[in-house]
């Protein structure tokens, strides 16, 4: 009897120490379970899930993932964690992620937290349960620093989307071009008061100061704010030539309408999430001509100069009968499933530590450019899709078309300034 009790305790201790270790052994035909816990209620989260499903369907249609000669279909388990909704605390998002790990016994996670604040907290959870994750929305580079500082613990966290650091690189390239083309040197900064937007704006502000630009003002807005008139009046009074914007909330769309009605004689450039998709032209009554908006990953916007991005964009539109609306998330989410598939096939297992090593060896031509991870498990972004993954800046034409204007390797048109902006600068 004593032996039975002792054995039960040993077994229990083993199960507690290795809670999901056993499911790493797959039998032929067993599905590979990929979890998608994110803020599905957001446009970025919702479209990212659709792209994950699209990639999984494509892979399954070709037989699935091959591990040591046996085929395994991919099964997607999505979960709403609402971490981007105002007032939802990080611990609530963590509970959602822990639940999907334990209940659905996922082999890996893609997309992951929406807010960087939630990503930072999730890293410990992933280390605890040894679940690899390819994040595609949260953007703070703080997670890379954490991985470099303690690689053994945090090695399970990868990111395929753009980070604030790379976004600043894109922006400084655009600012240089604006300076050369139009002689712009005075900027007014407006951003949402969230981690990634604060980081991006601070990075750009530092660059402006070093590069001889004058920052005429800086306003931060809490998530949910919908009246920007005071900041726009200040920008106008201080004669700003450029209004830098950095927002990912739905209400930020009003900013462009207000900017037009107050007639601020400066060019607007940056990121306003509702302005990214092609439907924005109709939604905002065609009043967004001249606006420059970033697309965080190529593929979220089509490019005739890079066929994989064009093919992905068209395939999404064909499948879901609607174009992509978000400029951030969908392309790397789609790409992540393929990155994971190839890594599993290289590793020959779904066991986490082996899979992480295989993920580190990733090098593929993806829909947003070439996909390779650096030491911080971050996909390297640059300006040429043949060499690195690429983010892009596009500009709305007065005819309602989105035209990529930066980087030059994929640019379809030169940056232009509306007549009323140029007139005021003379």
């Amino acid at each position: 009897m004593k032996r039975v009790i002792l054995s039960s305790f040993v077994l229990l201790a083993f199960l507690i120490c290795f809670p999901i270790g056993s499911h790493a052994q797959l039998k032929p035909g067993d599905p590979i379970i990929i979890g998608v816990p994110t803020f599905l209620g957001s446009i970025e989260g919702g479209e990212s899930l659709k792209c994950v499903l699209m990639a999984a369907e494509e892979i399954n249609a070709k037989g699935g993932v091959t591990i040591k000669g046996a085929k395994h279909p991919i099964k997607i388990e999505a979960s709403e964690i609402r971490d981007g909704a105002p007032g939802v605390p990080v611990p609530e998002a963590l509970l959602g992620i822990e639940k999907i790990i334990l209940d659905k016994k996922v082999h890996a996670i893609v997309v992951g937290p929406f807010r960087s604040e939630a990503l930072m907290a999730t890293m410990d959870l992933l280390a605890k349960y040894k679940v690899p994750m390819l994040g595609t929305i949260a953007m703070s580079p703080a997670s890379e620093a954490k991985i470099i500082e303690n690689p053994e613990k945090y090695k399970y966290v990868f990111r395929t989307c753009l980070t604030s650091r790379y976004f600043v690189n894109l922006l400084t390239g655009v600012m240089d071009q604006l300076n050369k083309e139009f002689g712009f040197k005075k900027a007014y900064l407006m951003n949402q008061d969230v981690l990634w937007a604060r980081g991006t704006t601070a990075g750009l502000k530092g660059w402006y100061e070093k590069s001889g630009w004058e920052v005429t003002g800086h306003d931060e807005f809490p998530t949910g704010a919908s009246d920007f008139s005071s900041a726009l009046m200040k920008a106008k009074a201080k004669d700003a030539q450029l209004l830098f914007t950095c927002f990912d909330m739905p209400q930020s769309g009003i900013l462009v309408k207000q900017y037009k009605s107050i007639k601020v004689p400066g060019l607007m450039a940056g990121f306003i999430s509702p302005m990214a998709g092609e439907v924005a032209w109709k939604s905002f009554d065609g009043q967004i001509g001249g606006l420059m908006n970033a697309i965080f990953e190529l593929g979220n916007i089509p490019s005739a100069k890079y066929p994989p991005a064009q093919a992905f964009y068209d395939a999404y539109k064909k499948k879901y009968k609607d174009p992509l609306q978000s400029g951030h998330g969908p392309a790397p989410s789609y790409e992540s499933v393929y990155v994971l598939k190839e890594a599993i096939e290289r590793a020959g297992t779904v066991e986490a530590d082996t899979l992480v090593k295989a993920l580190e060896q990733t090098d593929r031509a993806g829909v947003m450019g070439r996909v390779k991870f650096d030491k911080g498990h971050q996909v390297v972004y640059g300006t040429d899709p043949a060499k690195e993954a690429v983010a892009a800046m596009f500009q709305w034409s007065e005819a309602g078309e989105r035209r990529i204007v930066y980087p030059t390797a994929i640019a379809e048109k030169k940056i232009w300034a509306p007549e009323w902006v140029l007139k005021s600068k003379k």
Partner: protein, 290 residues
């Protein structure tokens, strides 16, 4: 810039008053704090959008139908849910807040998220007021806000239903003695208040976007104005809207935009400490406590 701040401060004040009028009217008549108010505000906007975009109904007809529909839903909420808990303030708050959450999150569940949910402005373009440009829609907000206040005054002073509303607001038991059906009036007050939320939504939201989060901020703004002005007092609502509206705009212009959102919260805090019944509130028992 000072002139611009004054103009935009005034528009902001009228916007806040417009948002708060319906909440205040319902509370003043029936005593029900309708915490589903923000959800009804967004319901009206989504209804107008659906009628306009999916059913291709004329914009102004869509607006009218959306306001009527929202009023109807408000009436139903009272008749089938709030009536059962009337007189139990905590239950009323919990029930109405729950209904509001359910409505808003149902829209999220249905996928009403994205940039395509916008309503067209009534008249496009902007005009210059002494060098300050302002959109025509904002001027319309001011016009509609003032017209609504005048309409409400006339309605409550010269119509049978309006007089019954006032009777209920003054003393419900005496109103009952005089043959006023209090349940019917309370239902009407919910419907009327919800309709006003609808009018506010379709007037204000063409300037921006219809988003679920907007429901929560509309409720917060309505609460702030009503608490500061004094629950149930129309004069209080107008004065509080002016105070908070100007304070928000001046804070955003001269201190920092990220402080703007806490102005209303600070106003609630200050008023609850020094005059808990609000500037023009009639709940004297609250004042007696301090």
């Amino acid at each position: 810039m000072f002139q611009g701040t004054l103009i935009y401060g005034f528009v902001n004040s009228v916007t806040l008053a417009l948002i708060a009028l319906g909440f205040n009217l319902t509370f003043g008549i029936s005593g029900v704090a309708n915490f589903a108010y923000g959800a009804l505000y967004i319901l009206a906007a989504y209804t107008a959008w659906i009628l306009l975009t999916w059913l291709k109904i004329n914009y102004f007809l869509s607006i009218v139908l959306a306001v009527i529909f929202t009023s109807f839903i408000g009436g139903l909420i009272y008749r089938f849910i709030l009536l059962r808990v009337r007189g139990m303030p905590i239950s009323e708050v919990i029930a109405s807040f729950g209904i509001g959450l359910a409505i808003l999150e149902f829209f999220r569940f249905l996928g009403f998220v994205g940039s395509e949910y916008t309503l067209p402005v009534f008249i496009d373009g902007s005009v210059s007021l002494g060098g300050t440009y302002i959109d025509v829609q904002r001027l319309l907000i001011v016009g509609i806000g003032i017209a609504l206040v005048i309409f409400l005054w006339l309605f409550t002073h010269y119509t049978k239903t309006g007089l019954a509303f006032r009777g209920m607001a003054q003393e419900e038991r005496t109103a009952l003695i005089l043959g006023i059906n209090s349940d019917k009036m309370a239902t009407l007050s919910l419907a009327f208040g919800s309709g006003l939320a609808g009018v506010a939504a379709i007037t204000i939201l063409p300037l921006g976007q219809v988003a679920i989060e907007g429901g929560y901020s509309a409720l917060l703004n309505a609460l702030a104005v009503c608490i500061v002005g004094g629950l149930g007092s129309t004069v209080g609502v107008l004065v509080a809207a002016v105070l908070i509206g100007f304070a928000q705009t001046f804070t955003a212009t001269y201190i920092g935009s990220h402080w703007m959102m806490i102005v209303s919260l600070v106003a609630i805090l200050v008023i609850l400490i020094f005059k808990p019944s609000g500037l023009f509130g009639k709940q004297k028992e609250l004042e007696e406590r301090i």
